[in-house]
Symmetry: D3
Subunit: 255 residues, 6 copies
């Protein structure tokens, strides 16, 4: 039994609120247990210098935590004058994951900036960021379609992320909160699409190691969790979900 | 008449929500029209190096905006690697203002960090930050009293801030939103206590000037607005307000 | 009585030396008591990126102190690798104030850089900088007129700055030196034009507050001091002063 | 068939030269195909501030590439004034991996710094760095044992790393060179111990996805490659290898 | 003949004004032709961390130019956020040169900071800085003697610096101004003591080369110029000069 | 006698290996005693902004040391976020020296970047860098000639560098290793061409001074050492040496 009485394969309570902030093209507040992240998607009508003239678009992400999102106050990265390695890793991960389900050629020479700002943290902030960022990005892309700037939604499928791990007592568990994360022998983040394809697998045994069997159990748990998370995304996206499901079917058929 | 149909001396809708984030010692979300700021107060059991050994406490503030708090996305200060002049001015102002109503000797060698993070901006973010930061700080100080770490609430009175300005059509106006602020001939921020004392007066005629009469009209408007803001603070602080009112009376009597 | 035997409304000895450095388009050394600032104005034939193509000019200022301008040596900002909040506030203030009396449209797409370098400090360095910077800027603009690059002097009036404050013994006082400034209950900087219009009012009660009456007394003192400072400016500017006075009259008439 | 005629499960030529640089406590040059990395291990007799007083040691790594290690010259991170996200990710990965096979309690309050400097790059620089860094670290630790500073070699097993991937033609392949890496659909880095335990699994489908089956094939290839790399490590470590094998057996028995 | 009608071996007009700024322990304004440098010496009662506990003192220098010391405005190093290579070279040179004539053991654990701020530049700013810095440093050290903090003046001799060069027309010349410096084939800075010993020789043929004969002619010119500069130093130092001359004699005799 | 039994005028063992790294246009590993430097030359088809449109080329250098090139580990400049004064001095020196023997007009609008990375240090790293950088640069330029991008090798002569110094026991000595360098009274770096012309003379008496006679003895030693170093360069350059010798003769004849 886990300390918050969840079963090994049980997600925390998930909530995704649309239009949380008024200015961005896409904006959601995602809540996973006590973890809360504002995900804002912005459209910019140009791409970074290294991509100009290719006719392709780009998706990039930035991630940050408010100083008191955490139990102890952390110093702002703007005060330190530099971004930590952890932040860089996370924002590279978010951007890379989102790009896996976007047809960048259909997007045209545009950049979607996705800002994930953690206002309250209790473990799993990077996976909650990806799950929420996906929704914010889709909403922003939908507006581009509605405005006639792109022909159709350049999204090939749903995408969500979840953490899994190995606990010394509970064994393999799904969706770790902060206490579980701090004590886990193995910590893993899995990002998958609605068709069950893997986008990213990052497993780390900090001062520990793990077996192929444990890896497989964790992947099974993640698959289960991600399916539920995608249900939440579908609900908040409403009709847009149907378009994505259609795109997904076309994809499978064209393979 | 103002473009949002307010009267010249009318505040926007104000709302202060307590305990918005779970980790900080004091936390509020303040809403003034479409401006929303999370104000979190943290207690640290030491003071900055330049103050050690004096037995006094310190209040310091940090201010930041989410990239899409604004109509156009702004680059993060952490990405730029430095804090802008505007941010520095604002965080110095917030800290200085709060210190004017705190008895730093009674606080002891502790620092209160107040983080003001603007999640949505529509003018008046620095004054909303001060009005909200005051409440978050008081809640944090109250916990120190309850925990027996300090004898009594080291607060000498209420404190709130508001912007006033001169509009080419509407003349002197209270509580400018972003459109009004962009077009104002004169832009002023006033910080006052509940006893009507001035803490800070900052009036700027960007590429313009103003008369003593206009200054006086603006100060009258600010006084009116600040009284109403303090009413909101009292409501959310509940019983703690009574302690502050008592402290204020003692102060006046001892003069 | 003040510790240097001045009356409450008495300025320190003021001296403005023209052409102090040979290279700049405008250069003065301003001395106010023991405070000495080199003010150099440079003309650049373009404007910052955010203003290009508007046909307007720009005035910007930089401020710095030599390490031993002060009693104790201060570390250079170039060694620290960043500009302090105090410096940023001051250089933004100088630039904003100067722009209030310049017709930027008449200036054309040019930038005037005004560098204020304090070589000796004894309080009031930011107000001395503004009073001196105004003279250096006017001299540089006059050279543009003489060289036929602009038609007429784009200056709408004189501009000077002074500090005022509240002392626990002497009450409201004019032009604070370092010792007075360190002990003042209230510290205020006032910037006014020759026609008595306010450009900037910055009053701060660091760990203290002030009344509307005290504010009014301080404004009266400032008005008196600024009139005298403008007399000094007129003397050093000689014939150019007549042009400015004429511009000022035209302005008043056109209102 | 792969473009350099290797089989899918074939490593490039591996060479590990001991004592490449004279000053470090441990130093090797590792060559994997055309990839060459100098790995130097340094012993420092203290730990980072956050670990002081715990009686435990620490292993940390830094990674860098010479500007012309690559086909195109890259700008030095020292010239840019900051470390890129890629470098941060890699040096965090190297340090974390090495710590998985070191008994930090037995090390005592010491830090082992492992510097991995790529002098020539042709894909797989991070995995070559880990494989070489392990050897340099073990040599440095052995000197601490010889000098009587620690009782026994605090190493629980061998550790090596290899890249695997999915190529659109060749399918799953082992040990990708630069051309293969640039074209791979999936890119994965696997770090394992001599007992077949996983330490880190990082699989990324940049603008692509992969199946559980593909993941399993890649893990099989990696296991094969890592066994061979560990053979190379044993050869260069000579007698020290025996001590590590013994430690490994004790570990397995104590489980 | 040189363009300013000087002879090949003729210095520009030299002037050294004592007590130019009131706060520093030693302060001079040195003028060499149109080059003007404020040299301020500050005493700090400790040494840098790497020297603590050795009982020895340290001399260090910082060098900077006002933005409009030059014909074209240069960007401040504080705005750029870093010190240029040229500045670093110069301040290392000044510090090293001064240390050559100070008995650091007699100084005790104190640092003398010498700040050289160029307010007007016309070539030879680094050599004028050294010649002026020497005087400011001696005045500051003399105050330490007078205050009883050190027994005797820890100065072993006079020290001055001058530039020499090779001009395509005028041949070898002494004390180059800016125009000469810009056109010189060879540029050399020589630092010598009053006893004719060399402290530093830095000769550079930027895109050119020079012969041993030219080197010798330049050294002869420098020797002549430095003797005259030391005369100026003696004049401004007055009685202190006698102490230095005595120290110098003792030194020669003890050899 | 010197501590490594060399005579006063004896170089350490010198070795220059061509094509050490595969990617750069020119690459050598130079070994002087225990000092080892990788020198890589890269060709870029443009010049820095300040030189554009002049039709001339540019040679620039960067210098760095691996953290464990030295006895004690030094912190990376990329970690510190800035380049030290020492590094800046050295890379400016290398670039300036190389430019003295290159005809920049013949090079056309191209930049040659020369990267000198010290992998093992035992004194004389800057002079070894210059001697090796010259060879790498010539190889890169030769490739430009072969590719028909420039007509002929734009090199006017050979160039090498060596250190000399004054030792308290051994007197004037050639090619100081680290121990000798640490104890030397005078430290000097000389850069000369094959025709015996001086390019750069940098002599420093850190907390000491030197006479004209000592200077002359050191220059004699340097001349001897540089001749031998140029022999090594000729050997490794093979046939290219003949072209340079011819260019040199033409130069002498045209004078």
């Amino acid at each position: 039994m886990r300390h918050d009485e969840r079963k090994a394969d049980q997600l925390r309570k998930v909530d995704i609120i649309k239009d949380f902030v008024i200015h961005p093209e896409g904006s959601v507040l995602i809540t996973v247990g006590n973890t809360k992240v504002i995900c804002n998607a912005s459209v910019e009508d140009r791409v970074p210098p290294f991509m100009r003239g290719e006719g392709k678009g780009w998706i990039t992400a930035e991630y940050s935590m408010l100083p008191r999102a955490t139990e102890q106050r952390t110093i702002r990265e703007s005060s330190k004058g530099k971004i930590t390695g952890r932040t860089m890793e996370i924002q590279r991960l978010i951007g890379r994951s989102l790009r896996a389900v976007v047809n960048l050629n259909e997007l045209g020479e545009r950049t979607i900036w996705v800002d994930c700002d953690v206002i309250q943290a209790d473990g799993g902030t990077r996976t909650a960021s990806i799950t929420g960022a996906y929704v914010a990005m889709v909403i922003a892309l939908e507006k581009l379609v509605k405005a006639g700037k792109i022909k159709s939604l350049p999204i090939t499928g749903f995408l969500a992320a979840v953490s899994v791990g190995v606990d010394s007592q509970a064994g393999e568990i799904l969706d770790l909160n902060y206490i579980e994360d701090s004590n886990a022998l193995v910590d893993m983040n899995i990002i998958m699409t609605s068709s069950g394809q893997l986008v990213e697998v990052q497993g780390t045994g900090e001062e520990a190691t793990f077996t192929r069997n444990e890896l497989n159990s964790m992947l099974d748990l993640a698959e289960k969790g991600i399916k539920l998370l995608i249900e939440h995304q579908k609900e908040v996206l409403g009709d847009i979900s149907l378009l994505i499901e259609e795109n997904e079917k076309k994809q499978v058929m064209s393979k």
